[in-house]
């Protein structure tokens, strides 16, 4: 397991939800875990929404000063430099949507690449309209890499249609995930699903998303 785990992908692909669940899971085996909200694009649906659960589990949240204040003022907290410079903690970094969000990560790239103890996962939901094929998803992947200057190390298949998702829906995307894997020469490191969907799904590397924010 690498010291830094970065989650990036197309806008609305499920990065934040996965990052939170991943951090909570990581905390079970690692003493000091941070999660950093690095989304400078969207003022809604933030890591901070799950602050209570993260606090209870002992995961330390680094969040934008203006997160959830309704002040739409993109900025990054200085504590993020601490995460990439001190090498004695584990950190989960939630990168904002698309290449535009990934530009913000670029300023930390020299530290991350020099240490070279990171995983950067491409989160893909093949039910999202602009990443329905392996080719489209691959294009987004390359745009993000070009924006932040850090190469991906793996793919996470987070294909879902919200609460209506069935195991068959997820299975129908395995071929696309494999195609993306071939195009990018990167492994599909996990398929993320809810508990209900997981029971009917046959695949390796299932990762259960226990924490789901329900608004309605």
């Amino acid at each position: 397991m690498k010291r830094l785990s970065l989650f990036a992908g197309h806008y609305g692909s499920g990065k934040t939800n996965i990052a939170i669940n991943y951090a909570l899971d990581l905390k079970k085996s690692v003493n000091e875990v941070y999660i950093a909200d690095m989304d400078i694009v969207n003022p809604y649906f933030r890591t901070k929404d799950s602050e209570k659960e993260l606090n209870e589990a002992g995961v330390k949240l680094i969040s934008l000063k203006y997160a959830n204040t309704n002040v739409d003022l993109p900025s990054l907290p200085q504590e993020i430099y601490g995460l990439v410079q001190r090498r004695d903690c584990h950190a989960v970094m939630d990168i904002g949507g698309d290449d535009r969000g990934a530009y913000a990560l670029g300023r930390y790239a020299p530290y991350i690449l020099e240490e070279n103890n990171y995983d950067m996962f491409f989160v893909a939901n093949f039910f999202r309209p602009l990443t329905r094929t392996a080719e489209e998803a691959y294009e987004v992947m390359r745009e993000i890499e070009n924006a932040c200057g850090i190469p991906f190390t793996g793919i996470i298949n987070n294909s879902n249609v919200g609460r209506e998702t069935t195991a068959e829906d997820v299975e129908s995307t395995f071929g696309i995930a494999d195609d993306l894997s071939r195009l990018s020469s990167l492994p599909v490191v996990m398929t993320t699903v809810t508990e209900e969907v997981a029971s009917g799904l046959e695949c390796e590397n299932k990762f259960i998303l226990n924490l789901q924010n329900k608004i309605f």
């Binding site: 039910f127 999202r128 309209p129 919200g162 608004i215 309605f216």
Partner: protein, 353 residues
């Protein structure tokens, strides 16, 4: 792969517009509708369309005016403060009798307000908004699926009646993700002999204009336009009735307020209260007939709104104040909870049950 996709309301509008044949989008970013513009920016260059981020909302709506004059499907989108800026251009488009789509993903106001959802542009959308006597066809979706379907409908109605249409959504509808089955590409073929497409020296030239310096001419265009509005009011009002068959109380709500209210109606039924809901889908034309019919059956109405009470005036007009109409509202970006709506229903029912 299955046809359903997972989309944000804002994205669903954008993709549906493309499928409706819209190849011209002009806008200026503003939360909470920015994903619509961002989606257009990604897609339009790939399909030979135009995405243009204008220097301002005023510029964007005038670009819409220009393309609308050529008869092509064209749209702009914004959120409340930006839609206020567009009003002059919208009035010109209405005055020149041109079809176009304007999307308002509302946020709290007045002024710069906030970035949370609201329905407080109801008056602006349904009563004119800009100067002069005119209407927009106003559609109020209440799911991401309807965001897509009503985008297509708005383009079709705008073409059919040669007038601008507005999709009136709110920040919640724009931001929420739901599965959507996208509409088939449009096959609409409305003849537009009025469009400025070049005469090729084979016909008289067309003129797109909203300036009539002779009062008599201007009066005549107003009279003619309102004859058209009468036909629309007669034929195009859309609404949904929910549990109205034996209802003694009627909730009236649109958009996100209707989704909340539906839960409250179900909860009220579980408590033995005979409550139903009428959901206006077109806000102009307002569905007057079902409300007038309900006024002869029910004991009272509850208008549920994310505003200080705007639609409630149309409810009172449509029901001719035959029965009491009370307001259940939150404002400034707040959303009423099903419990709050239920409490309003119970208060109105009082000791009557």
């Amino acid at each position: 792969m299955s046809e359903k996709v997972l989309m944000k309301g804002n994205e669903a509008i954008a993709e549906a517009a493309i499928r409706a044949g819209c190849r011209h989008y002009f806008g200026y970013p503003i939360t909470p509708q920015t994903e619509l513009a961002a989606y257009m920016a990604k897609r339009m260059p790939k399909i030979g369309g135009v995405f243009l981020q204008a220097e301002s909302e005023v510029a964007a709506i005038n670009m819409v005016y220009g393309v609308a004059g050529t008869g092509l499907r064209v749209m702009t989108s914004s959120s409340s403060p930006g839609v206020s800026l567009k009003q002059e251009g919208i009035s010109y488009i209405a005055g020149a009798d041109l079809p176009a789509l304007i999307v308002n993903v509302q946020r709290g106001g007045p002024g710069l307000g906030g970035i949370q959802p609201s329905q407080s542009d109801y008056f602006q959308a349904t009563k004119g908004g800009g100067h002069g006597d005119y209407h927009l066809i106003v559609l109020a979706p209440s799911s991401v699926q309807e965001m897509a379907d009503m985008t297509v409908l708005a383009f079709d109605l705008a073409d059919k009646y040669r007038m601008p249409a507005m999709l009136l959504a709110d920040g919640t509808m724009g931001q929420m993700m739901e599965p959507v089955v996208l509409p088939e590409p449009s096959t609409s073929t409305v003849e537009k002999p009025w469009a400025i497409t070049g005469t090729k020296m084979q016909r008289e030239h067309n003129c797109i204009n909203s300036l009539y310096l002779q009062s008599g001419d201007l009066e005549r265009t107003n009279f003619e336009r309102f004859e058209k509005y009468k036909v629309i009011e007669e034929n195009e009002a859309l609404y949904e009735e929910f549990m109205m068959d034996d209802a003694e109380y009627c909730v009236v709500a649109f958009g996100i307020a209707a989704r909340v209210s539906k839960n409250a109606v179900v909860a009220a039924r579980e408590k033995g209260l005979k409550v139903g809901m009428i959901r206006p889908i077109t806000l102009w034309p307002f569905p007057k007939k079902p409300l007038a019919a309900a006024a002869d059956k029910v004991k009272g109405f509850v208008s549920v709104e994310l505003s200080m009470g705007q639609m409630i005036e149309d409810v009172k007009l449509a029901t001719e104040c035959k029965k009491p109409v009370v307001l259940c509202n939150r404002a400034g970006g707040m959303i009423p909870s099903p419990e709050e709506v239920l409490a309003s229903i119970e208060k109105m029912a009082g000791g009557n049950n």
